[in-house]
Symmetry: C2
């Protein structure tokens, strides 16, 4: 990769923003957004890039929260001095989605009326709502126009939504491993994940207490999700038919104990209600296909980069091409790259020199090209 | 299809057979096998075909148990007068695997020592053991040599195992939508299914009572499994992004309520322990790859038909080709067909004129060709 430099220690921040009328009519008040920034905002505020995270991500996209943190933020490979999202040039904003559980308004927020977490009484949040909250955050910096909005998977949906919700507020849009709407199969995997949580005796209609959360259901949802993020090839390479290491985890196979471990560690860092809210936001996001999609995208006038990954069977390249086709049908400026990878849907998160070059090149290209 | 004729009303039967020493060293005594037969055994007993079922199948492959039964056996499309497995010519035997829950020895059998079902104290059963029990059943008819052993998915593994466990006891072997061993991804899906059952509070280490079975866990396992049996294309066609019909089942989407329904109806007809035993038999079945597989298959001297399906992403055509390649490497007589279908792994179960023609042609071809 281009650089091993890190943005170093970063400080998680929280913005308490104005009221937000959600898609479903309810009003979020206040709108709290957890975020981080990397790099320096230019005096004329024209170098800001917004990074949008995927289902289980958060605002911590780069650097470290402390010297003792073992792993950097989730997209540290691509954000930093000299990296694709070059913090020597750009001011990067990364925020947690509303409906999530990493500091932004969501089911874990305290309902001022009851003094307890909202849980399942939190209003439904759409991808459009997530983007609206990000817009409030961006405005709080006095930024009128972002240089770019970028994201993979659910982050790509947010970037796409930005291009039509606020067409004047971004110059470039980067959509990686994403889709204009979920297929029946994508919905199906999410639905089984939700049903796993709903089947947990601790579920309690989403009004569970801190000391009795639906851990088993959430772990199952994560295990299943995790399979869909990998590729057959990657799993063969990583695990094959090997037996588990040690005998701590209840499986006859390495791949089984890996998934069990992934499930168990996920529940320590994610909330079951948020999992339901965010997967529902994913499943309900729908800009349509063909002419319907072309029409939905018509307000956009930024420049687009769409990237898909050959081994991604969860968000297959055909879904990216659907977006590209509709953008081209209305003469938008769009670049499309299908990267050959072995890592499945996770590809966009992993080190990839070509992805780095493609993003860097796109951002550096004069905007009228 | 070639014929709409049915074998009509069939009688489920049970054979109480001799002791069986299992792969893991334990002895099954007696070995009980539930079975059905269709057609008539020829005087010199040379027209018998054994049908092997998949994970959730049973001995009821064709016809009806009574006039009031709504749906015929699971492979009625292919078994009957004038059909691919023509009951006017062949004597068809179909049996439930041991380890299963449809009448053959398995976790639901009563342990004579305790007077209660074995549950999880039933010994581990391998694909080889399932086949050994079938061999006892076949011998009980005085049949020394089967005209053919045929099956899809797990049934294909059994057919393959027959060819090497009892090379003199079959003339033909039909392996549909199957594999010589599970990949990490196939194991992974089964593992999450098993973990769903183990996470159910009713699991009780597999010693659950009839009135408190791990229904929710088993339903989740089935829901997830069901996704893998279909194709992206089929799900789009069948459900797309449609809302659920009615509001009875807890999903925002038709595909979700379909899966919930499939899960709930499965638990009424399947046992959670058997699900664990049979998926473990699948995952542990391993004849290797390449030279190792060629060596494993060396005892076989029957003729083979291997069929794969273009839309089957759970048992992809590459796994069938692996078997074919190894058979060819040691000069076995093998025919391979990849059928173009849209129905995913389930394809082999569904009406398909080409599949019917291929099976019929293979069986009618003089055996030395």
């Amino acid at each position: 990769m281009g650089s091993n430099q890190s943005v170093g220690i970063v400080e998680p921040k929280t913005a308490v923003l104005g009221d937000l009328r959600l898609d479903n009519g309810s009003v979020l008040s206040p709108t709290v957004v957890a975020y981080e920034t990397y790099g320096t905002l230019s005096p004329n505020k024209d170098n800001a890039i917004l990074i949008c995270h995927a289902l289980s991500g958060d605002a911590h996209a780069a650097g470290f929260h402390s010297d003792s943190e073992k792993r950097p933020g989730w997209w540290d490979e691509y954000i930093g001095p000299g990296k694709a999202f070059d913090t020597d040039q750009y001011f990067i904003i990364s925020s947690n989605v509303i409906g999530g559980c990493k500091g932004s308004s969501g089911p874990m927020s305290i309902n001022p009326v009851s003094g307890k977490p909202y849980g399942s009484s939190f209003p439904f949040v759409s991808i459009k709502d997530m983007v609206a909250a990000q817009k409030l955050l961006v405005e709080s910096f006095g930024i009128q126009r972002l240089l770019c909005v970028a994201g993979g998977s659910m982050g790509g949906m947010q970037a796409l939504q930005w291009s039509i919700s606020y067409p004047d507020a971004l110059e470039n849009c980067i959509i990686l491993a994403s889709s204009a709407e979920h297929s029946a199969m994508q919905i199906a995997f999410n639905e089984v994940g939700r049903q796993a949580i709903l089947s947990d005796p601790n579920w309690n209609n989403g009004l569970y207490e801190d000391n009795a959360t639906p851990r088993k259901g959430l772990a199952l949802a994560r295990m299943m999700g995790h399979i869909t993020y990998l590729s057959d090839h990657k799993m063969r390479e990583k695990f094959g038919r090997k037996p588990p290491i040690g005998n701590l985890l209840n499986s006859d196979f390495a791949v089984g104990s890996y998934l069990i471990y992934q499930g168990e560690s996920f529940v320590d860092r994610f909330d079951a209600n948020s999992y339901i809210y965010v997967t529902k936001a994913l499943d309900h996001f729908s800009l349509g296909k063909g002419q319907e999609l072309t029409k939905a995208l018509s307000p956009a006038h930024c420049r687009f980069l769409v990237v898909s990954y050959s081994s991604d069977w969860l968000y297959p390249p055909s879904q990216s091409r659907e977006i590209v086709k509709s953008l081209e049908a209305s003469d938008k400026r769009v670049f499309y790259v299908e990267l050959t990878t072995n890592e499945g849907h996770d590809s966009f998160l992993l080190p990839n020199q070509r992805q780095e070059d493609v993003i860097r090149g796109f951002l550096k290209m004069p905007v009228n090209e």
